[in-house]
Symmetry: C2
Subunit: 153 residues, 2 copies
């Protein structure tokens, strides 16, 4: 029986968290897209004005999963939780750790009086879409993600 | 010749801004999705801790367009501008007002040292996609928007 602990991330977890962010980006076939530095990551989560928060899953003392969110603003719904990342390492899946990490963020959002939670999944990531369907999440396929890097314009 | 002024939105503009938010939601075929109240809208933009900012376009003294953004967090890219809404009323299109509103947000992001800007467009909104292509924006069609309303879970 594994010893699974879900807890809030602390500053000391950042280095390991960034490893997992890279693991998730690899799964999403975009490892080259992770250009954030550890110092920016630490500063934005644990500096004077934190803009993101996270939960980590420890299994037998090792962090092997996380969920990370920020507060977004919707002109339709007001302030809402945005679940930026949720990830569990492949070798430890199937134990319900993803659900624990998801539920922890959802509970945080309910406690904070936000109206709801939003996130994105890749349209080919069927295990993720199946997982979210269990929560009766609304899935909307008609939006296109657009981006500009300021260095290019 | 119209007298076009682009300026930062002020607290007094909120009521008119929310009218335009509803106009945009109607164009996006989702008017029923706008459930935010004017008081929450005002408080979140001009209260103690503002979480959104906007530019308005005045034509002959009347606000007929706006661009609204917040700061998002990306585990891949760090802090970035998120362009939540950009809208120009139908009868005043074709004068370059959309580009002025877009450029104002982009300039704000450059000044703030953010790495880039992100937003979403509807996959059937060809005029919008064409507009963004002129900026050489990267368009990514493989993400699904997911959401949960806390009152339902």
């Amino acid at each position: 029986m594994d010893n699974i602990v879900i807890r809030k991330a602390s500053c000391e977890d950042c280095s390991r968290l960034l490893e997992l962010v890279r693991g998730l980006a690899e799964y999403e076939k975009a490892p080259q897209e992770v250009t954030v530095s550890l110092s920016h990551f630490v500063e934005s989560g644990f500096g004077e004005n934190p803009v993101w928060w996270a939960f980590v899953a420890e299994v037998d003392g090792l962090i092997c999963g996380f969920s990370l969110y920020y507060i977004r603003y919707s002109t339709w719904k007001g302030q809402r939780i945005y679940l930026e990342d949720i990830y569990v390492e492949p070798e430890i899946r199937g134990k319900g750790i993803g659900a624990m990490l998801f539920d922890a963020v959802m509970q945080e959002g309910k406690n904070g009086n936000y109206s709801g939670m939003m996130w994105q999944a890749l349209d080919w990531n069927q295990p993720a879409l199946d997982f979210y369907s269990k929560y009766k999440a609304k899935l909307d396929f008609e939006w296109v993600n657009c981006s500009i890097e300021f260095k290019d314009v």
